[in-house]
């Protein structure tokens, strides 16, 4: 079973999936999110991938099935509720159950609840470990941390705890200007290198593979396991696709203030509308606080040199 999973809404508790981390494609669909376009290409072109699981959470992800319909691979779309109340937990738990049944049917497998519970325990432990690293972000290189997160997310769940234990990041003294990073997945590591080489230190973030990956509440105790998982995933730092900008701003600004952040770097994918909309309110909130914000759009054609110039200028400004 080699399922390519898109986004942190895919429940890890059900089975291992390969987390999509970027793929070079021609991006032939006009005005379509580059990230999802690359995802489609990998599912279609990569023979080692035999399935795809993805959310229905933004305009580009809504149409994924239409593009993959003829792939003859396992396809499953998960409904991600656009709310965060008890109704949302209930419907999301049903969606998770449907996903599990769909995997079982296609791969002729049985996924029992003990296994799901066991995986849930590992996830809880792993997230606690990541949180400890994140809390010490000022004492390590952010690029090292992010690479760790990327590598971790490529591994089967049962190897992740050991990997974290064996790959302790080396402590460093960061004297850079404190910046906060927000946006969709960092598919271009040269941006992070550019941030550090321009004399800035990332002291906090709200990006898919970091805060939005591990910050979910650990839900233990008795009760319906699917509801627990749903509750847990929905308690993660929110994505703008979940339509609660107010909560995103409240949480991020609290962290930005607490850490005395001097500037914010906002990463967007070209044609990723949820982040485009979030940016406009984020900018206003930061303008009111006199905190500069730099927006970098990651597209297939963005030049590394150009981003470097932007980052250097931003660093000088703050």
């Amino acid at each position: 079973m080699r399922i390519l999973g898109l986004s942190s809404f895919v429940p890890e508790q059900i089975c291992d999936v390969i987390k999509f981390s970027g793929y070079q494609s021609e991006r032939t669909i006009s005005n379509y999110c580059g990230y999802i376009s690359d995802y489609l290409s990998q599912v279609i072109e990569d023979d080692s991938i035999d399935g795809a699981v993805y959310p229905k959470s933004c305009d580009s992800s809504r149409g994924i099935t239409s593009y993959l319909d003829n792939s003859k691979k396992f396809l499953h779309q998960i409904h991600v509720p656009a709310r965060q109340d008890e109704y949302a937990i209930e419907i999301f738990s049903e969606s998770i159950k449907l996903y599990k049944e769909s995997v079982e049917k296609f791969y002729d497998a049985v996924i029992n609840e003990n296994e799901i519970n066991y995986r849930n325990e590992i996830i809880c432990k792993r997230n606690t470990d990541i949180e400890a690293i994140y809390d010490n972000l000022e004492g390590i290189h952010y690029s090292v941390y992010l690479k760790l997160m990327h590598d971790l997310q490529k591994m089967p769940l049962n190897e992740q705890l050991d990997y974290l234990k064996n790959n302790r990041s080396e402590s460093v003294i960061n004297n850079g200007k404190k910046v906060f990073l927000i946006g969709s997945r960092v598919t271009d590591m040269s941006i992070i290198e550019g941030i550090e080489q321009s004399g800035m230190t990332v002291v906090g973030d709200n990006i898919t593979e970091s805060k939005r990956f591990y910050s979910q509440r650990n839900v233990e105790g008795i009760g319906d396991i699917y509801k627990k998982i749903a509750n847990s995933i929905l308690s993660n730092r929110l994505s703008p696709t979940q339509n609660n900008f107010c909560e995103i701003l409240t949480n991020d600004i609290f962290e930005i203030s607490r850490k005395n952040v001097q500037g914010v770097i906002f990463l967007t994918q070209k044609y990723c509308e949820p982040y485009d909309y979030l940016y406009s309110v984020y900018k206003k909130a930061l303008d009111d606080m006199d905190i500069p914000i730099l927006r970098i759009s990651i597209s297939g054609t963005t030049s590394v040199a150009n981003n470097r110039l932007l980052l250097e200028a931003f660093s000088e400004m703050i």
Binding site: A82, Y87, E273, K284
Partner: protein, 382 residues
Amino acid sequence: MEITTAQLQTKLVREYYKYFSKYAKGKKPEKKVAWVTSFTPVEILEALEIEYYYPESYAAVIAASGKEQNMFQTADKSGLPRECCSYSCCFEGCIIDEEGPRGIPPKPDVLIATNNQCNTLPNWWNILAQRYNVPLIILDYPGDIIPLDMARLYVDKQHMDLIEKLELLSGNKLDKNILEISIENSRKSIAAWSNIISHMPEMNMSEVNLFDAITYLIISRCKEETASLYNKMAEEIAEYPKSEEKLIKVFWLGYPLWYHPDRYLSEELSGCRISGSNYITWWNLDYCGDDSFEKLFHAYNFTFLNISQRARTERLTKLIEQSEAVGAISLINKSCKCDFVSAKNIDLPQVELEIDMIDRTYLDIEKARRQIVLLKEMICIE
């Protein structure tokens, strides 16, 4: 004396715009105001005596008045880039500049957004919520991605929750009788509208009138006068001359071009006529069911843009057959990714034009011209 089509249109338009700043003369609505997306269950708002306005529709009006480019610039300066949905950029510019062909709508007391059309609208409504600092209610419609009974339960709960919140906000109690009447009015409006568009393949109907006339189904579908208006229009259309046989019947797959005087690329389509369009059927909601909640569930959960590609293809195939079209113009709309894929699997000669329904500068007209010539050649060969 019998009321005419023009009088009915004027009544509906006047009623809708009376509190827009250009006409209100400082007067504010007595009722609470909601800003809603196009597929909001407004029957509930009717039954709670809440006024409602449609920012998307107003963006189309702004484009039709030729003022959209200034609005885009204003929105861009405020941090909303031009790549975003043009409806939102256009409307944002309008409310920031406080300028529009009919002024600006009365400020909202509540914002209601649904995702049964796209996911961009709830994002846009989040911006509005920050601007006006008023409650935002998101209605999440799963469509056919999950089993029917689950979806029904989920949507019903949200509709009940919506009612509870709006009762608190407005201080009014939901009038179940008005709710039922409003649903019935919507159903009648849709039936009358369906009758009108059924004449499209054979009658000589003006495309601009048709694309503009659907506005009433969007902004006032549950008003009694809408069905009366459409019935009158249908009577008039039945008297129209038949369209010329020699014109090539083409299906328009996507939004009308609100900035264009004819709402489609008429100058490039000489020798052709639009005999069908999916856009004008989007609001043909199916209010089936035994009680109000079931009817609202069916109508708003299974909108055209919220169903799977397979179901969409089925609906579209039927529409194209009814239109008798021999070719299609499919719009790859910059502003609407959800409609991108509608034309997939349609077995008909077609061209895909990269276009925007609001931003007139987006289209590469030379390229479009070449594509349309090619389509005409394909149709003739076939």
